[in-house]
Symmetry: C2
Subunit: 223 residues, 2 copies
DNA sequence: GAGCGCCGATACCTCCGATGTATCGGCCCA
DNA sequence: TGGGCCGATACATCGGAGGTATCGGCGCTC
């Protein structure tokens, strides 16, 4: 194994074992390189790799720190990876989202609070009757993000966030080519919100399923 | 932005735009560095980072290539990230798995073929009546992996693969401390297999849910 | 003529030392 | 006491040198 890969494993080991805790500062490059028995250049490769996936946070002039290691932060790297997938796998991502999103929405139904509900309603109202497609899709993302955050599961939340990215383009495309997509989306959002306000998990789940399935069905028929 | 981060973005752009296709070979270090306008050292950091998340494949003495970019390969990096999470988020991972695994099992029920069913049955038979905990957990992973592969969704498959890792330790722990866990797991596997053979998606989904929920419930009561 | 091994070209691997740049915190001045 | 200057610190970037793994052509052997 290359020395850089060894260094990656060793740093990973220090974090997993607890020798380095979230927020801790690493020894400076030259010291850490000496400790691990490699050159500064090679160590920098290891640090850069870990920094790409948000394990480490490097600040010039200050030092290198372990991030909070929040699921949210770490799974953020997922969206970077997801960007590389070509359109032919969008359907698979969407299928996974169709599984997770209804479940998350149902979970949110039993624990979402008034303040969040009001915020969601205000967001829908702010959109107006004739939003542009870009506005609608942005609002769509924000709406679902708000709901999923109320599911109380941060892993689920980050995962859905990562999965939503690649399907965004598809939704824009749909909004541009399908006439009633805009009004239908707005209607479905209202329905989901009403179900959440009622605390009706099954209704929320069903509306979320319908909501995503309609995008999926359209995409499947188009490709 | 640092030159290395720019290089990462540029290489990513070349791949996403299609200028570089899966399997393509990159220009050699010195040329690529000159093209992107940075030093070889800095370029190497970028390449190393992309290689950690399986975007690039570096072969000493040969060259640097774009990987297949299969969802399976890219989401493999997920398990690396997941390793950093501490035990207190295991429950959240397990909750997500409880959503995905039943859905995947139900999908598999309608499309799994005879050969796969026979292989799964043979695998369960090979385990014997009194397996060690380690054997059981390994068999458990393999069993579910085999089923999920029959769901026909490679993204779903890789995602579950990544999520199963962190819960593995929990399952070993459970097997060691809960007496009837072994026999119960075997029984549930048989039930899932029977449902799959019947093509009964709902039964398969329910058994899968029960199967995972039992681990989750035990873990929740233990922590 | 076919197969095997040697060997040079190629490309990545590792290291070193030097210079540039951003940040922080103490010191000095108003 | 408050604000700005300035040096120490730590990461950023660079160029070059020597090492090592891989591949493929060439020549030898059978």
């Amino acid at each position: 194994m290359a020395v850089t890969d060894e260094a990656i494993e060793k740093i990973k080991g220090m974090i997993v074992s607890g020798a380095l805790r979230p927020g801790d500062r690493l020894p400076k490059e030259s010291e850490l390189a000496a400790d691990l028995g490699l050159s500064r250049n090679s160590l920098r490769e290891a640090v850069r790799a870990l920094s790409l996936i948000r394990i480490l946070d490097v600040r010039q002039g200050d030092g290198t720190y372990v991030t909070s290691l929040d699921p949210q932060l770490l799974l953020e790297a997922l969206s970077f990876v997801v960007d590389f997938h070509r359109d032919d796998t969008v359907l698979e991502f969407l299928a996974v989202r169709r599984i997770l999103e209804p479940a998350a929405t149902a979970m949110a139904a039993t624990r979402i609070d008034e303040a969040r509900l009001d915020a969601l309603a205000a967001q829908l109202d702010a959109l107006g009757a004739e939003p542009s497609v870009e506005e609608l899709v942005a609002s769509d993302l924000e709406f679902h993000r708000g709901i999923v955050q109320s599911s109380g599961n941060s892993v689920l939340c980050s995962l859905l966030d990562g999965l939503s990215g690649p399907t965004t383009r598809a939704r824009v495309w749909r909004g541009l080519t399908q006439e009633d997509a805009v009004s239908r989306t707005l209607h479905e959002h209202r329905a989901i919100l009403a179900a959440l306000r009622d605390g009706d998990a099954e209704a929320a789940r069903s509306w979320a399923t319908v909501h995503i399935a309609s995008v999926e069905q359209w995409l499947r028929s188009t490709l």
